[in-house]
């Protein structure tokens, strides 16, 4: 039933058996989920929990499932809260065959903000079985008591995931991560930058109005902290203030702070520099050979996200099976090929598209990972403070 775990072939770089999947990634390039809500999610979750108070808590408690009937015997609709198009046509194919009674449905976690998505979970106890979430949000959900503790014994494939990732996302199964660096057009600028410092000090002024930035608070704040040589997860007020000043200094030179299509302007040439995720630049490079990825020497901020099981799910045994199936190398490779994202499972490399495996920005490279600092859950006060700073940056 469940695919037998392959031996961990660490750092192995195999040719992909499925090179044709490249086509699949065309036009379906994804960006990270907004569920990885840096600051936002935390207070939002708690706030809503408070708003709904006892009513929903009772409902949650009442629906706590007895579990551990055989997963194969279960039937029903298993709902994953995620983005439309996040999963390709192949990932669930095997699973569907083996579980004829189960229908997998994806529900849209809208993107108006993290609070809205958490509201969806909070107000509909039992309606969703799995949610896609980043480190801070999953930690917050855990604190709020809406997550089902991961039953690792039921998910043998979890061991295939690199231990760094597993430790960073303890409440769910890690599926993908993304680093924030920048891309530039080598045909449109003469410089060949390699650092954040160059971007902030010389390029910003020279190419003022031709620089775009993705709109994601924790990634951008982390980026500024990296530029200044601080930790992404610093709690120092003075460092955070320095970060804020750096961002405010950059803002007048920005063409736009984008919600979507981060690299489109770069591809078109209406912008020459884009502060963007690794996988998005990788995808953009396919459309324009002049785009160069910069993994700045000062380091990069990165998010990590994955699946968490939600309390109140009536299909928990099936959920564990689905998670296990998702991490089975072939399946996992299919998911990575669909999203074009950086991957967390080394053993799936042989099935993953060459363009991802060989891409310097995406490949599974422990050296490169050392320059990356993952965003952590910093507690509500810190999150609220950073949230205000972000708001101030946008409103300025």
């Amino acid at each position: 039933m469940v695919e037998i775990p392959r031996p961990l072939a660490i750092w192995q770089q195999e040719e992909s058996a499925l090179s044709s999947v490249d086509d699949l990634t065309e036009g379906r390039l994804t960006r990270r989920s907004a569920l990885v809500a840096g600051a936002g999610g935390l207070l939002a979750t708690s706030g809503l929990a408070a708003l709904l108070d006892a009513g929903s808590a009772d409902a949650l408690a009442g629906r706590r499932s007895p579990i551990l009937a055989s997963a194969a015997a279960q039937a029903g609709t298993l709902t994953i809260l995620t983005f439309p198009g996040w999963y390709g046509p192949h990932e669930f194919a095997n699973f569907d065959k083996q579980h004829p009674g189960i229908t997998i449905k994806t529900a849209v976690s809208g993107t108006t903000g993290a609070a809205a998505q958490i509201a969806q979970i909070e107000t509909n106890p039992g309606a969703f079985d799995v949610t896609l979430a980043g480190v801070p949000v999953s930690s917050q959900m855990h604190a709020a008591g809406v997550l089902e503790p991961l039953k690792t014994s039921q998910i043998p494939n979890l061991k295939l995931v690199g231990s760094t990732f597993r430790k960073s996302l303890p409440y769910g199964i890690p599926t993908d991560f993304g680093k924030t660096g920048y891309g530039y057009r080598k045909d449109l600028i003469t410089e060949r930058p390699t650092t954040w410092r160059e971007l902030w000090t010389t390029l910003a002024k020279k190419y003022s109005g031709k620089i775009t930035m993705l709109k994601y608070d924790s990634d951008i704040q982390g980026t500024a902290l990296k530029y200044l040589g601080y930790s992404v997860n610093t709690k120092s007020k003075s460092q955070l203030q320095a970060m804020q000043n750096a961002l405010l200094k950059l803002k007048p030179h920005l063409q736009a702070i984008l919600e979507t299509d981060y690299s489109k302007a770069l591809i078109e040439g209406t912008a020459v520099i884009a502060i963007d995720y690794d996988y998005d630049i990788a995808a953009a490079q396919k459309h324009n050979k002049n785009i160069v990825w910069v993994a700045p020497k000062e380091g990069m901020a990165a998010y990590l996200e994955g699946w968490c099981a939600l309390k109140g799910s009536k299909l928990l045994p099936t959920v564990w099976e689905l998670m296990n199936s998702h991490l089975a190398p072939k399946n996992y490779a299919s998911f990575i090929n669909n999203t074009g994202s950086a991957f967390v499972e080394q053993s799936a490399t042989r099935y993953i598209s060459k363009s991802i495996v060989h891409n310097p920005s995406l490949r599974y490279d422990p050296v490169a990972l050392k320059r990356v600092e993952f965003e952590k859950y910093l507690g509500p006060t810190q999150i609220a403070y950073r949230g205000r700073l972000w708001e101030q940056f946008l409103a300025a």
Partner: protein, 273 residues
Amino acid sequence: MRLRPPRLRSIFTSFVMVFLYAPIVTVIVYSVNKDPLLIHWEGFTTRWYKQAFNDPTVRQDVVTTLKVAALSTAISLTIAVTAALWARRASHRWRRAFDGLTYSRIVLPEVVFALGLLVLLGKLHVPFGVGAIVLGHVVFNSAYATVIIQARLATLNETLEEAAADLGASRWRAFRRVTMPLLLPAVIVAGLLIVSFSFDDVIVSQFLGGNNAQPVSVLILGMIHLHVTPEVNAIGSGLMLITLLTFSTAGLITVLWPTGAGQFLGLGGRAAE
């Protein structure tokens, strides 16, 4: 008699129409563009429409959207017509208070009452879904409809209804045969408008949809977080087409219906006054 040489006004109106349609044209063009990144024109394809049509989520969400729009429009118009009929004969002070309520439903940022409603319905254990979305949509849709219908009703001569009552028509019949036909233009205008609001709404739809009702607007918002894909444009164009077809069918039925003949097109209704 004319205000200005007619051509100037018509030319200006045509320009405004171009302004209104230009973005829609780009949406339609993008929906048939082969280039998935929509950077260049790479040729015509119906692939995105097929893709959208074959996607069960899209199909289901379109149905949800139409259901929500139909229900909330029907309820909103009923509320608006009754409210306007009441307001016409209400005392001045009551009417002002009433108008205050109507306008505040339009004024208040949607996110505010949507959140309040979320909390309230949660506490009352009202199930989330199409019904809950409709509850929310009616709040603002009925307000817009009331404003439009009230404006129309203010211009109608009450003596017509009195005459009808005097001729022995029951109140209901006087309403149906005299007031309603006169109000119809405003009701239609209001209907056209609030259907579009229902389509556009994201916040109430997302908050109150639960896990079994997701209108297209919410789906699209999720989809564009990846990229503004041609498929999204195809869904937008498709939705417009479906609505247009629905309305023209409804219009056709009304026109062909023996008793209501011509009323549907009688939007202006100047002669009716």
